[in-house]
Symmetry: C2
Subunit: 416 residues, 2 copies
């Protein structure tokens, strides 16, 4: 009998099955109420617009055929130009040459990890941070230096300490972070840019949730702030910020369209890596993304803000009403996630097993979001796909379960 | 000024811009007659069927929305089942659990390279072989052991010598190879399987061109033959053959849909890598691929065989009529490529410069298909996208250019 385990590369040996992955398998069971996935509500997808775009494509036979043909690795030029225009600032004019279209932000991370990380390269990530980033970085076997966070995201003192340890890059989600929901305020953002340049650290800025704000628009991005810091036009030569974006949260995930914005010298390398990885992204899906983006996008996102914002309110209100004192929770100003911290001695993975078994309720235990361990008493709730009734009912039942579990820890059953 | 070159990983430093990539950029110029790309003719795309599928999807609103939602990494189950059914044989029953949907064969190679190749791992590839495979394998910095070929593909003696050097895997395209067009006969295929088991070498079988036969169907695949070699059901435990397929050549490239068929232990690892690479392939494109595959595919491919087969005949006839004796050429029994070998002292890259400048003609110089150098006097012609008139005219002009260049080498101009 073949033992494949002996045949795997060192990189492949380093990867493990993810909790989220195993969880998402459960979600095929429609009787489970899921607060697990960080996924948009399909009821909000602009399907009528997609139908219009398809119909229009079909009335242009040449373009329609081209939409199914091989196309260039860099991406569909009109979409690249749309990205360039949208993310240019007064100080930093982005051109389409700075934009690579990828299969979602996840592939942007894959290409950047391959381009920049060797085995044992020290890299900084927040504690907690996006599991998918840890998964792909993990295949490069880096040396993780974790940065502590508070309700305002990355703590600068902890970041400086990480930078002093010689990290090569920082991966960060400044807006409504996955999983913590924190938004980094402008003063901290400026400090991050200053420190990056003091210590020559590359910044990978993931903007996946940036458009999904429910209170006020977020502060300028790290890309924009670095432009201000460096002065007009300087990012192209001296920039350390590489920005990653996606259509998955604002439009539709199965388009598998995201992008990377980077100075030319690194963008060219990323293009070569993308070419060797999968030649190019679906031409058709890039055309659909461009059409959806260039007309009516703000109106569509306003609708998302309205619906998701109300669900955020419902979940936070329900948590205030029902959650026992042994747990604290965040009130995110955007994104899809509420972050829960249980009493120190509680374990969210055990809680999940019970929630699934007795309540048919799912969420994501927090430990997987911690690069170097920890976070066993934390978990993530998503409010993006559930209606008010389910949110209230689910939070109530989950709260009762937590209360019961907590009491058992404090007053364990004894022989009477 | 930032020097990004210093910041690249060792893997990223190892990759170079590809000739094909630079070439494909030229092909935006419509005045160039291109025999370069290994691409299908968009005029043959089944666009009416695609329109039908879309219309049908739109009349099923739930499925239509699901086609735009995140979906599981392994792929769309009906498509996985279609692949499993199609590639099962009497001895080897493939189940959908053995199938991973990828973004085309190129991503299958990416995941397999990550899973199996460490820096300096010895791997065997044919001389010449598919450039895209060399590009992605190259990012893992393997130790290439090249295997010589003749008009029947891999030479067994050279393969055995490579296996004796301790290679871990062999990458091969047994049917109508890119770029050489060779098809490996059944006796050699059996020898490859025997040697793989004697030396414990993994076989990556790329079937990209298998369906495009113009004379007779190809012999059984390595996957099927290994099943016969091992006996009923044994591949699942003892199989060394991993098969890679794609919809890019038979249907449409921009679907970006391919697949990997592998024993469970390795398939599970590939799924984890795919998840960390880009989560999953476009749900919509998988649905379209499944619909196109499960109804009318044979009729469609028969049409491709008919059109491409005639173009193959036209090109080979034109080469017979016009090509000077200083060049030899293959007569492929399928696929998209004719392989040309010039006199030893001629250089196909120089020829390309002249062909572009004076004839506005493009092809792919062969050197890039040789893992460890060589092949400077070879090049690849594709006949898949050109009509008869262009093929005859292009081959005639190219032949004249070659004749002229050859005479200059043999009788260089001298001071009179």
């Amino acid at each position: 009998m073949m033992n494949w385990k002996d045949k795997f590369s060192l990189d492949a040996k380093a990867i493990k099955a993810s909790d989220i992955r195993e969880l998402l398998k459960l979600l095929d069971d429609p009787s489970i109420l899921s607060f697990a996935g960080g996924i948009p509500d399909p009821a909000l997808f602009p399907m009528n617009k997609v139908a219009e775009i398809r119909k229009n494509l079909e009335s242009h036979p040449d373009l329609n055929r081209q939409s199914m043909q091989y196309s260039k690795t860099e991406g569909y030029n009109p979409l690249r130009q749309w990205v360039a225009d949208k993310y240019s600032s007064a100080e930093t004019e982005i051109s389409q040459e700075n934009v690579l279209i990828t299969n979602g932000a996840q592939q942007s991370l894959t290409l950047l990890a391959t381009a920049l990380i060797d085995a044992a390269t020290p890299i900084a990530v927040a504690n907690p941070t996006y599991l998918g980033a840890l998964q792909i970085f993990g295949t490069r076997r880096p040396n993780y230096i974790t940065v502590d966070t508070d309700e305002n995201g990355i703590i600068i003192k902890s970041l400086k300490s990480a930078f002093q340890k010689g990290v090569k890059l920082l991966y960060t989600i400044p807006d409504f972070q996955n999983p913590g929901g924190m938004i980094i305020p402008e003063d901290r953002r400026k400090k991050i840019i200053e420190l990056a340049h003091e210590f020559d650290v590359i910044i990978l800025e993931d903007t996946a949730y940036r458009e999904l704000y429910y209170d006020a628009p977020p502060p300028p991005s790290l890309l924009t702030l670095e432009g201000q810091f460096l002065g007009e036009g300087q990012w192209h030569q001296a920039g350390l910020v590489i920005q990653i974006g996606t259509a998955s949260k604002t439009l539709m995930p199965a388009l598998r369209v995201g992008w990377t914005i980077a100075p030319l010298d690194i963008l060219e390398k990323l293009v070569m890596l993308k070419q060797s990885n999968d030649l190019h992204s679906s031409t058709l899906n890039q055309i659909i993304t461009h059409e959806l983006s260039s007309s009516g996008l703000e109106t569509h996102i306003d609708k998302l803000r309205d619906v998701y914002g109300r669900r955020r309110d419902t979940m936070v209100d329900a948590l205030r009403s029902y959650m026992p004192n042994c747990a604290t929770f965040s009130r995110p100003a955007g994104g899809m996630f509420v972050w829960i911290t249980l009493a120190e001695d509680m374990d969210a993975s055990e809680l999940l097993q019970k929630a699934l078994a007795t309540e048919k309720l799912a969420f994501v235990p927090g430990a997987a979001f911690f690069a170097n361990g920890g976070g066993e008493n934390t978990f993530r709730l998503s409010f993006s796909t559930c209606d008010d009734k389910d949110i209230i009912d689910g939070v109530r039942r989950l709260s009762t379960l937590i209360q019961r579990e907590h009491l058992q820890k404090v007053h364990p059953k004894q022989w009477s």
